[in-house]
């Protein structure tokens, strides 16, 4: 009896530092986002003490549905683009020999360790009207001299894929490494073509990795702010830009909180879906392993 009491005391002692820190500085602030949506802004840039619905109604701004819709479709396309590129890479990495795999993985991780802003800025230089890529494409007669490569939604998509791709490659590679490639051989022996074997044997075999990659790319994409801010324009604004604008130059914190609450709610759907699928998916994959 005394031992359990001691054990419990010790548990609280080692749990409290991180638990208290994160409760005070993560849980409480996150709840504040929802609470402050129902406060009025004050002229000094803070928020009032009374509860009000004015901010909540002002979120009905007719521009917002378009921005929310764009945030969702841009994130979806960027995520699918990442997965489309990362899946063959995972296959290649899992089948490559040890030395080559180490090098390719290093080359994939290296950009991840370099400054996020620098990588985005590099694209701004590359896509600039006077930049290298524009000149090269013009020389190949692929674009007209008056086409702008920068400040549109395509530039945002391209750079989002660029910055998020390592987050898709790593989980897909981790799943591919555990995949039993004899299954692909078996399918081919039974007369299946390479592409068909890839789609109907390899892809279902790494579905847990694909799911993780989806989540790892999709959720940060929903909240992206820097990429559309630097390479995007007024026609490619996303929810993140609006939040930053309301919190910064406009200094209307309740409004920024309301938009963030919308972002949080948008994010919950894929997160809940992922949790449900993972719970469901685990016994299935166990069965596969036992069968193999």
């Amino acid at each position: 009896m005394k031992a359990t009491a001691r054990r419990q005391w010790a548990e609280w002692l080692v749990t409290l530092p991180s638990f208290v820190w994160l409760t005070a500085l993560f849980v409480v602030p996150t709840l504040l986002v929802f609470a402050i949506t129902f406060r009025a802004p004050t002229p000094d840039g803070g928020f009032g003490k009374e509860w009000t619905l004015t901010t909540f109604w002002s979120l009905g701004n007719p521009n917002y549905p378009a921005i929310i819709w764009r945030t969702i479709w841009v994130s979806t396309v960027a995520t699918l683009g990442c997965i489309l590129l990362a899946t063959p890479m995972g296959y290649y990495l899992a089948k490559a020999d040890e030395r080559r795999r180490r090098w390719v993985l290093l080359l994939v991780i290296l950009p991840f360790w370099t400054s996020f802003l620098v990588r985005i800025f590099a694209w701004k230089v590359l896509l600039h009207p006077d930049g290298f890529l524009k000149h090269a494409l013009e020389w190949m007669h692929l674009v007209k001299p008056d086409t702008t490569l920068l400040y549109n939604v395509w530039a945002v998509l391209l750079v989002m894929v660029y910055t998020e791709l390592p987050f898709a490659i790593l989980p897909i590679y981790a799943a591919a490494e555990k995949f039993d490639f004899r299954l692909v051989e078996a399918a081919k022996d039974l007369g299946c073509g390479s592409f068909r074997a890839f789609c109907s044997v390899f892809v279902p075999g790494i579905r847990v990795g694909l799911l993780t990659a989806f989540l790892m790319v999709f959720i940060p994409s929903l909240g992206s702010y820097v990429v559309p801010d630097i390479v995007g324009g007024p026609t490619s604004e996303m929810l993140g830009n609006k939040i930053a604008q309301r919190a910064g130059p406009d200094r209307n914190l309740p409004h920024a909180a309301g938009l963030s609450a919308i972002l949080a709610v948008t994010m919950l759907a894929p997160l809940a879906g992922y949790m449900a699928l993972r719970k469901q998916g685990t016994p299935g994959s166990d069965l596969m392993e036992k069968g193999a």
């Binding site: 548990e11 609280w12 080692v14 749990t15 530092p17 991180s18 638990f19 820190w21 994160l22 409760t23 500085l25 993560f26 849980v27 409480v28 602030p29 996150t30 504040l32 986002v33 840039g45 803070g46 928020f47 590129l85 063959p88 890479m89 290649y92 089948k95 390719v104 290093l106 994939v108 290296l110 360790w113 370099t114 400054s115 996020f116 802003l117 620098v118 800025f121 590099a122 694209w123 230089v125 600039h128 006077d130 930049g131 290298f132 000149h135 660029y162 791709l165 390479s194 989540l215 959720i219 929903l222 909240g223 702010y225 820097v226 939040i243 919190a247 914190l253 963030s260 949080a264 994010m267």
Partner: protein, 261 residues
């Protein structure tokens, strides 16, 4: 049947895609031209201008101060938290504890940035370098805890029990047994925390007060409001530093692997 070449082609095309913008940036940093569209001769002038700009050095020192503090703090809190998660796994308290450690890793940065700004305004804290430090500890903590937790998975508790059976008190057990054995995990977590803190822009941008400029905030304002050739030079230097760090750490771990085998 011949194996398909498509995966290899995609892989090397992606690697090219990864490095093309970086290469162009580095080449441009030596371009004498102000706008970088055409090559106007090799020049170091942007590097010279960069070294003469004092505000950049100020921002760099702010960044390093915040990163060092946040790394140490998050290493202590994160290790403690990871230990609790592992040792008392399965209890109700640890389920909640795991939740609050895991969630910051999933949420987009902008949400954390805004929520911390609201919190600091609500408790009437003056924004400054101090608030950036607190914010960085908050997100680094989770990364350290997860890294240490991964190392704890193959940790053998019988060693701790053996130490205690041999008469070691809890202080000796922690200092002489537990910490040395967990050191690689804690250091890996600390390294990750340091890198993330140095590179963080979004969260810092929200909670920075006037005058509290870190290097990413400085780079952002340079990108937004002019001075492109100087950022080329700064970016090239930053890339050089990261590439060297990664190569050295790879070389060390490779050598270790060889001697250990």
């Amino acid at each position: 049947m011949r194996p398909s070449r498509v995966p290899a082609i995609v892989t090397w095309a992606v690697i090219l895609f990864f490095y093309l913008p970086i290469a162009v940036l580095v080449v441009n940093s030596f371009n004498a031209s102000r706008f970088g569209g055409t090559w106007e001769g090799f020049s170091f002038k942007w590097y010279v201008k960069l070294f003469q700009d004092e505000s950049i050095w100020m921002a760099l020192s702010n960044t390093l101060i915040v990163a060092a503090g946040a790394t140490v703090c998050s290493m202590v809190l994160g290790t403690c938290g990871a230990f609790a998660l592992h040792r008392y796994a399965g209890s109700k308290l640890q389920k909640w504890h795991y939740g609050v450690i895991y969630m910051p890793l999933v949420l987009p940065e902008i949400l954390m940035g805004l929520s911390l700004l609201l919190f600091f305004v609500a408790v009437r804290v003056q924004l400054g370098l101090w608030t950036i430090f607190v914010a960085h500890v908050t997100f680094c903590l989770s990364y350290v805890a997860m890294t240490v937790l991964a190392r704890l998975q193959d940790f053998d508790y019988s060693i701790v029990e053996a130490a205690q059976d041999l008469g070691a008190g809890w202080r000796v057990t922690v200092l002489k047994v537990l910490l040395p054995m967990l050191a690689p995990g804690i250091l890996a977590g600390g390294l990750l925390a340091f890198t993330l803190s140095i590179d963080d822009f979004v969260i810092s941008f929200f909670v920075a007060g006037p005058g509290a400029t870190t290097l990413p905030i400085k780079i952002y304002s340079m990108i937004k409001y002019g001075k492109p050739p100087m950022i080329n030079a700064l970016s090239a230097l930053l890339l050089l530093v990261t590439f060297l760090c990664v190569l050295v750490s790879q070389w060390i771990s490779h050598r270790k692997g060889k001697t250990g085998a």
